[in-house]
Subunit: 184 residues, 2 copies
């Protein structure tokens, strides 16, 4: 679809049909993530494609209490676990070079957004689950010590239930001219 | 353009023609950022549209040494400074609810990627400048204490010079099945 349509119509999807997402679809989705830009082209992302139903259950159990994505995640045919190498993006010699730490979080936002838009373009749906026990989840997928899980993305065909149009701020509420507080 | 084309052909652009980006174009660009998803729909982003040439110079002077975006930024007709409110995304009561701090960095990556894809779709170009003195830059644009500059995006019509096809890892180098290290 057109980029404009993709941006405008993407929604967070938490309920899926029993359609089984194919490996070929997953490759197409990850290809969109692959081409993303990143800090000095460091590409610190790693993606774990989780198909094993026991692992899917264990990962979903790391979600924060009452996470509305829990049920859909438990029944999903695949979870994509978005991970990052730490100490590289935004760093030289393992140390932050700016006042902002965790530049890998920014890079992961960029690549995950490519992925989300592509999922939507393919008639599939997903939601970014970030509220979880990252340490437990990192252990479950066997990450080495200098990597961390950032977010989990259950993928599936939207059942059509529970999709909400979330309100967004108007431009005037977050756009400024030259200095913070001056209307654009 | 088609989403696929936008994802595949977007490049970081650091040299611009002397075309002056219009306010109407800037609104269209920020509309793409506006519709992005975020942690609990917190929408912690703020965008400063910098037109004043004196401020453009001061902001560019906060870039890290030898930043390849410096010259293009100095001569740009507009910089968009992407900022975030801190202590809200990924937090309850001002405290992080996960082991990962700075969730605003992830949210800013998401909204900035919407913006970058839209800029490219419009035949314009930009680059994410993250290597800068964030504290100095935040002062220049007059941010209150609980906000921070995250990245600066000079926008313009690409001159065609200096655009590079950056190599990306192959899927097999960052995609795993079920556990880290198992090929997908």
């Amino acid at each position: 679809m057109e980029l404009n349509e993709a941006l405008r119509t993407r929604r967070s999807v938490r309920k899926f049909t029993n359609y089984v997402v194919t490996d070929s679809e997953i490759r197409e989705i990850l290809e969109a993530a692959r081409v993303a830009q990143s800090w000095s082209n460091t590409q610190v992302w790693e993606f774990i494609v989780v198909r094993d139903s026991n692992l899917i259950r264990q990962i979903t159990e790391t979600y924060g209490p009452k996470n509305p994505a829990t049920r859909g995640s438990l029944n999903a045919s695949v979870l994509i676990v978005a991970c990052a190498k730490t100490g590289t993006s935004g760093c030289y010699g393992g140390r932050d070079v700016t006042a902002l730490s965790n530049w890998f979080m920014f890079d992961l936002g960029v690549t995950v957004q490519n992925l989300c838009l592509k999922v939507h373009d393919m008639g599939l749906g997903t939601v970014v689950v970030g509220y979880l026990d990252h340490e437990a989840c990192s252990k479950i997928v066997g990450l080495p010590r200098d990597f961390t899980v950032v977010a989990v993305l259950p993928i599936g065909k939207p059942s059509g239930e529970g999709i909400r149009d979330m309100p967004r701020k108007a431009l005037k509420d977050f756009v400024h001219l030259d200095k913070f507080g001056t209307p654009f």
